[in-house]
Structures are given as C-alpha cells and as structure tokens.
C-alpha cells in the first residue's frame, strides 16, 4: 500500500475558517506517464504532474471560481477570497438559489488497480509498446507504418463542501492504442484499435491481448485497401457495442444533460414520454455496471455526490435527465452524480460517465440471420450531437448483409439520424454486453474521460456512403 497523506485534511482546515456561504474546495493531483512509438522510433516518453485546488463559492446567488497550483492553506485561502470577489462582481439576472441539502459522500474511495499500476516499472510499458508496434509493422508487407501509444493517468482528488462532503478518491486509467497504415498503388488506408479502462492492466486487456489489437489494426488497414465504399441512404444496420456506445453517448446522452435540456434540447418536456422502442433501457452510471473496468468510472463526482446509476430511458420511456446539484434543485429532483471537472482549474459541468444500453435476448448470429438487406457496422470514430436531436458519428468498417448472410468488408462511413426517431426503430437487442469506447474522451468546453457500450443493436439510420 502506498502511503499518501489525506488531501482533505488541508481543505478541511481552510473550510473550517471559511465563514458563511456555500464553499466547495477540490484538490486534484494528476500524474501521467505516456509512451509513443512510430516506425520503431520513440516519439514520446513522458511524465507529467498537474496539481492544484479549485475553489467554487456561491455568494448572494452568484457563483465564483478560482484556482491555485499551490497545495498550501494560505494559497487556498487566497483563491477562496478571489472566488468570492469574482462572485460579488457577478450580477446574474437570475440568482442561483441555495443548494438544497442532499446526501454527500464522506470517506476514502479507492478504485481497483491503483497500487498495481503505480508500482509497475515503466520499462514494462515501454517493452509493450515497442513490441506491439513491431508486431503491427510485421503483420503484412503492405503495412508501411505502424504506431503504438500507452498512457496511464493516476488521479487523486479531495472534495470538501461547507454542507458536509468530505471525500478522498483515487483511481487509475490506462489506455493503449495501436494503428497501422497500409499502402497499395499510392493509396493509403489505416487500421486502428484502442482500449481504455479504469483499473489495472488486467482490466485493460480483459477482452483482447495487446497482440490481438496489433494484429487486428494491421489486418483492417490491409483489408480496407481492397474495400469499396457503401452506397449512401437510409438503411437497416447492426451496430457493434462500440457504436451502440457512441449512439447512447452522442444521440441520447448529450440531449438529456440538464443544462442542454434547459437550453431547449429535443428532450425538453419529454419526461414520461415514449421516446424509444420498448426494447431499449438506457442508463448512465458512475460504476462499471455489468462488466468491470469501464473507462468513465468514478466513485464520487466533483461536487461530492456519490456517482451511482441513473436510468435515463426505461423500456422506451424517458424517465430522467442527468443532473448536477444546481440543475437538480431547479428540477426539484436529486442530483445524479454527473458533475465533473477535467482538472483542478476547471469548474464542474454536467457530464456523462459510463453510458449504455442494457443487453437483450438475441445472439449476433440471430440478428444477422433476420436481416434481409442492411449493413453490419463496427469501429468507432468521432461523433457529435445537435440540439434538435440530430447526431452523427463515424464508423470504420462496414459489411453488407443480404438475406441473412454477411458480405465482404467495405469502408466505413458516417451515420446520422434523429436521436429518439432512431431509437424507435430498434427491433433487436443482442445478449452480449461490453464497454467499448476504448480511449474515448468527450469534449464540452473541457474534456471528460467517458466510456460507453452495450450489446449489438438492430435499427435504422442514414448512412453517408458514396453516390454513383
């Protein structure tokens, strides 16, 4: 056991003398190790330490925030005064009411894998990335470049609030990616695989070994050279768990973030309404539900609220939005533990954690067999959601399905649809579940480490392939 001082001791000392009004003090120590290799050359061998305290206050209905990179009581007190000055200078048209009392976290929360990862020598990770880059390079003569990168982020946070939170959390998130570029007749194609988890290497490689990732990346790059583009249009598709994860995150998750709802997202006023096929139950959780190691796992959010499971859509009906403490007060409900800040200098925002669709009853083989004309899509790229519910995300691989039979690999294409409309077309849900957003992050003014997943899913979307 690595012996670390409790960061909440310092925060509590400042808080005890902070005077009246709501005060939230959050220390965040973030240590990173990173390695990157391309074509046999080490491009990155890096350590990083980013530590400080973020201070948020509520004064006369106005929020103020300031931060310091010095973990000393005097520096935190200075930031507290600065945050109060900022709040006093702010004159919001609508005052933020006092936050209602809620149950807040107290105690120490250690995610699995922290000790194991901290004690693992960096040369093991270096050997891993060098070996996997070499394996991808040597997988085919068509591969002319390969890369592999590994990152591990160790985070230690302390949160104390004037209304009772006092939580000390520690976690580690390792991530690994392997890519290969294949060439033929002047054309280049790329294969890419990534995994990420909250936990140690056992979690990181729980489903596939590093060698399997390298082999798959190289094979995809080579196979895509001979692959055609799918034709664009509205199609029946089978989405892989990684794409179901993107669907839940981009199409639904963002539209039910309470700040986005308040601004007028398509989920506004829809609580209790049927928004999806009854086959769909969709959740967001701070825990790694169903399978260990989900990358967005947190025990306690950055307001000191325990981060449990929130059911968003229950058998097709919209039953909850995602809340921080302020939005929960406005909506007269309980906070859902979704307030997250990227680093100490960031104020918490409403963010997702691990978002997923619960598994159903069909095997993948059954879903393929009952598809007359469609595409099986796999491999996720970036995505984006819009206020009107329109979403898009990239896919890297497509396989045509004709009369229940899979055809040869085609190139991926972006897919799009309107969130709730697409979920209403779901007519089959797979029985096998996995977290599969790999090394994914979400951007919303500041990054957030998230995960998402689900089973295979049968639905209809718009595929942006090529036109004749």
């Amino acid at each position: 056991m690595i012996d670390e001082p409790d960061p909440t001791d310092l925060l509590q000392e400042v808080l005890d003398q902070a005077g009246d009004g709501f005060v939230e003090l959050r220390s965040h120590r973030k240590r990173t190790r990173g390695l990157a290799v391309e074509k046999g050359r080490v491009d990155n061998a890096r350590t990083s330490e980013h530590t400080g305290v973020g201070v948020r206050v509520l004064v006369d209905g106005a929020w103020g925030f300031a931060s310091t990179d010095r973990l000393e009581a005097d520096a935190v007190r200075e930031s507290l005064e600065q945050a109060r000055r900022v709040a006093r200078a702010s004159r919001p048209a609508t005052r933020q009411p006092d936050l209602p009392p809620v149950e807040l976290a107290r105690g120490r929360f250690d995610a699995p894998g922290v000790e194991e990862t901290l004690e693992r020598p960096v040369d093991e990770a270096l050997e891993l990335v060098l070996g996997l880059e070499r394996a991808a390079s040597e997988a085919s003569t068509s591969v002319q470049s390969a890369h592999c990168s590994y990152n591990e982020v160790f985070e230690e946070k302390g949160v104390v609030t004037s209304d009772g939170a006092r939580a000390w959390t520690r976690l580690v998130r390792p991530e690994l990616s392997v890519g290969a570029v294949a060439a033929r007749d002047g054309e280049l194609q790329r294969g890419y695989e990534a995994v990420g988890s909250t936990g140690g290497w056992e979690c990181l490689f729980r489903r596939r070994t590093g060698e399997a990732l390298a082999e798959r990346a190289a094979k995809t790059a080579v196979d895509l050279l001979a692959a055609a583009h799918p034709e664009g249009g509205r199609k029946k598709v089978l989405l892989s768990p990684s794409l179901v994860g993107l669907l839940t995150h981009e199409a639904i998750g963002h539209t039910v973030e309470a700040d986005f709802v308040s601004a007028g997202s398509c989920a506004a006023g829809m609580l209790g309404e049927r928004v999806a096929s009854e086959l769909v139950t969709l959740c967001d959780s701070g825990r790694s539900e169903l399978v260990d190691g989900a990358g967005g796992t947190i025990d306690v959010d950055d307001e000191g609220v325990e981060a449990g499971r929130c059911v968003i859509i229950d058998q097709g009906r919209l039953v909850s939005y995602l809340h921080d403490r302020a939005s929960a007060a406005r909506y007269e409900t309980a906070p859902t533990g979704n307030a997250r800040a990227w680093e100490y200098g960031d104020a918490p925002l409403i963010r997702m954690r691990n978002t997923y669709i619960e598994p159903g009853q069909h095997t993948l083989e059954e879903l393929i067999a009952r598809t007359d004309d469609g595409l099986l899509l796999d491999g996720c790229a970036n995505g984006q959601a819009d206020a009107n519910g329109e979403f898009m995300f990239g896919t890297r691989e497509a396989y045509p399905i004709r009369n229940g039979q899979l055809g040869p690999l085609m190139r991926g294409a972006n897919i799009s649809g309107v969130a709730f409309d697409v979920l209403k077309t779901v007519d089959g849900v797979g029985d096998a579940f996995r977290w599969d957003l790999g090394a994914g992050h979400c951007g919303k003014g500041q990054p957030a480490k998230v995960d998402a997943g689900g089973p295979w899913l049968s639905c209809e979307v718009l595929v942006g392939g090529r036109q004749a």
Binding site: D43, E49, V86, V122, G232, R234, A413
Partner: protein, 463 residues
C-alpha cells in the same frame, strides 16, 4: 499609474520569472548527466465569464504555470512536465525525464535544433488587452449575449463565454537558446440555436480571438451576426436531395473537410513515416491551380501567431501549396535532422508535451469566384454547407459527415434549410475538383483564413 502600465510591469516580471524558472529546470536537466536539455515554460492568467441559457452562470479566475523539460542523452529521449515550481518539484521532474531517457532506445535524429537566430517580430502583446480583468470579462460577455438574444426572441444561447487572458512563454535550451514573449487576448464564442414552438433548429457555434481591442466591437458584431443568422436559418429544416456533384463549402467547412488533410499530409514526419498521401510529390501538381495554401505565423489576428516555435526557432511565412503545386513541407527539429535540412520553425505544442509538428495559421488565397451570391449562382442547384460535423482521415483523405447549417439551393437562391444530410468524398481528389474560390478570405475560428469553395464530385446523401 494606469492599469495598462501596471499590466506591463507585471507582465515583464512574469516573463522574467518564467525565463528564470525555465533556465533553472534546464540546468537541473543537464546536471544529472543528460547531454542536452530544453525547457518550455509558461505562465498564463485568464479571467472569464460563462453564460448558460443566456444568463451568467460562472465568473472564473485562473492563474497557472507549466514547465516542460525535454532531455536527450546519447540520442535517447525523456520528457517531464510539472505545474509546481518549488525546488523539490523541479528536481523530481528532472529526475523523471532523465530516467525515461535512460530507458528509451536511441534515435540518431534526436537532438536540439541548432542555429535558427532571433525570433521573428510579431506584435502579440498589447498592454490595454493585458490589463483587462474579470469585470471586463463579465461586462463584455453580457454585452455579447445581449447582442445575440436581442436579435430575435427565438434565439436560445446554450452556452457563451468571454475570456480575457495573457501569457508569458519562454524556451531555454542548453545550446544557448533563450527566447521569451508575452501575449494578450480576448476570446469569445457561443453555441446558439433557435426554437420556434416545437421546431428546434440545429445549433451553430463560432469562436473568435482578438488581440487588438480596436477590433473587438467589429469582431463581436460579426460573430453575433453569424451565430444568429445561421441559427435562425436552421428553423423549418426540410430534406435535401441525394446526388453527386457540386457543393458550396463555407470557409470553415472547406478548412475542415479539404484543407486540413492536405496540411496534415504536408508534415515532413508524416512523409518520413509513410503515412502521407503527398510523399514524393514535392513540386508536383496536387490540386486545382487556383489553390494556394500558406502557413502564416506573423499575422497577429490569428490565434497561433508566434515569433518563435515550441523549440525556440524563428517562425516564417511558408507556402505549402502554390497554384496547385506542392511547394514545401513543414519541419520541426526532429524531422529536419531526418532529412538533413533546417527546421522551418513548425514545432508546435505547449509545455505539457513533447514538441509536435504542425501549422501556426493556415491561410488560403482567395480566388475569382466573387461574393457569396456569385458562388450560389454558380452552384445553381445543390447543397451549401456552413459547418462540417464528421470524420476526416488525414491519411487516406476520406471524409464523411453531416452538413450542418446547410441550405438547399435552387436557381442560385436559398430554397430551404436542410437536415439529416450527409456529405462524403476524398480531400485529395476534391482538391483537384475545385470549381471556384470566393473572392474574399474570411477568418475562421480565430485561427485560419480561407475563402468559400465550390467543389465538384461530392457525394450528398439526403435523409
């Protein structure tokens, strides 16, 4: 003393402190035996106001330090970053970087860039901008929001921010390089949509950065105009038609779908590592003869302007593509050693990471396609895309994504806004299929300048 004078004195003291801390860490990097050491140090101060639903949500003050040490020992690389400035933290960072350098395999192209000379003069520092504080951020932010919300009651501002900031950046290395500069700016942006009853329009976002406060009002007005005009225009969206043919790209969409992959492929490292479609094509025609792409670090109106790069090398304006021909590649110190040439001053990034390779401020020359209405006339019937939300593979050049803020054009005029419309193509192929470039280059996202582009051969899939 005026606030501007105080700001100047503080900034001078901050820069001197950053240089001293960088020099100290650089010495520690070498003290343990590393052959070469380089430190990039930065001190940043920002004050911001964040608005949600058109109302002030949070005022914020932030002061941060970052120091990044790169060491080379017998061709082996190690890097350490810290935001702590006490002696123990600096020693810990130096030890960590050297320990990594002891483990990594040697690479004969590793090493600090030599020579280079003095930084290029670029006017980034303005005392009046640097003197702005949280009061100004709150006030200007509220005015920005008011400008937008007063245009039309249907406007909804999901999020808006106004930030004033200043930074001091230094690069110090064991070969004697010691450069530093101050920067000051105001930046703002918003995510805006329009709602009319049950009709929720797609959002539009825009961001701007201003260094010279004389241009702030006009920039705020332009940004508010664009955001509200596009958001309101997104209401009542209908369907487009599927086809393959000409599409009019806004400057921002042109940048994202077509120009960015070309710039990525012009990275010397991408060429050296076998992941550039432009490998071996220097001097060849790679695009329509009307396309000229430059990187201009000297334009203070662009956010990436800088007199020196992440390795302390002077920056210069460089033409990547001239009249459709690939004229040059971008080099940092590493890539330059591999090819046996000099760095072009394109090491990019901040103190938290190893220097990368990239552009500072992409500028595309305008063409003779005329104003927006002339380009719409030339399109006649088809799709006009204002923002591209999708995936671009810089290696293959394939792009696919949703046309946002899109309009269906008939008879050279806007017939209706459209939604659920996907566009796809290949950037390297479409660079050769440019039909016309607009006669004016516009500043995009505060960081690039491009004209609109009418391009043939784009696949449009309508929902």
């Amino acid at each position: 003393m005026s606030t501007a004078t105080i700001a100047v004195e503080r900034a001078e003291a901050e820069l001197a402190e950053v240089e001293e801390r960088s020099a100290r860490l650089c010495e520690l990097g070498q003290a343990g035996g590393a052959e070469q050491a380089e430190v990039c140090g930065q001190r940043t101060r920002s004050r911001s106001a964040r608005f949600e639903k058109g109302e002030l949500r949070l005022g914020k003050a932030s002061d941060a330090t970052a120091l990044g040490l790169r060491v080379f020992d017998a061709g082996r690389l190690g890097f350490g970053h810290t935001n702590q400035t006490d002696g123990a933290a600096l020693e810990r960072t130096a030890d960590a970087a050297r320990e990594l350098a002891a483990l990594t395999p040697p690479d004969d192209a590793n090493g600090l860039p030599e020579g280079g000379g003095d930084p290029t003069p670029v006017e980034l520092w303005r005392a009046d901008t640097a003197a702005l504080g949280v009061d100004e951020a709150l006030e200007q932010g509220a005015r920005f929001v008011e400008r937008m919300s007063s245009r039309d009651p249907r406007i909804r501002i999901d999020e808006a921010t106004f930030t004033v900031g200043r930074s001091s950046t230094a690069v110090v290395n064991s070969l004697g390089t010691r450069v530093g500069a101050g920067d000051a700016w105001a930046s703002f942006g918003a995510l805006v949509m329009a709602v009319d009853g049950d009709d929720v329009g797609g959002f539009h976002s825009a961001w701007e950065l201003v260094r010279d406060l004389a241009g702030l009002e006009a920039s705020l007005e332009r940004c508010a105009d664009e955001l509200t005009e596009v958001a309101l225009g997104n209401l009542g969206a209908g369907s487009a038609e599927s086809y393959r043919g000409q599409v009019l790209f806004s400057p921002t969409a042109f940048l994202e779908a077509v120009v960015s992959p070309i710039v990525s492929a012009a990275s010397a490292i991408a060429v050296q590592r076998g992941r550039s479609s432009l490998a071996g094509r220097l001097g060849e025609r790679i695009a329509h003869e009307g396309l000229s792409i430059h990187d201009d670090p000297s334009d203070p109106e662009l956010s990436g302007a800088a007199g020196f790069d992440r390795e302390g090398q002077p920056t210069v304006r460089r033409t990547l593509v001239g009249a459709g021909r690939l004229e040059s590649l971008l080099y940092n110190g590493y890539a330059a050693r591999v090819d046996g040439v000099a760095s072009t001053g394109h090491a990019v990034g901040g103190p938290r990471s190893v220097p990368g390779l990239g552009s500072h401020g992409i500028c595309v020359d305008p063409g003779d396609g005329g104003e927006e209405e002339d380009l719409l006339d030339a399109l006649g019937k088809g799709l006009w895309i204002r923002r591209f939300a999708g995936t671009v593979d810089p290696i293959s050049g394939d792009f696919s994504g949703v046309a946002k803020g899109a309009r269906w054009i008939e008879g050279g005029r806007v017939a209706r806004p459209v939604r659920e419309t996907l566009v796809s193509g290949n950037a390297f192929e479409l660079a050769g299929a440019i039909v016309a470039l607009g006669s004016q280059s516009e500043r995009c996202r505060g960081s690039e300048r491009l004209p609109a582009a009418l391009i043939d051969g784009v696949s449009v899939t309508a929902g």
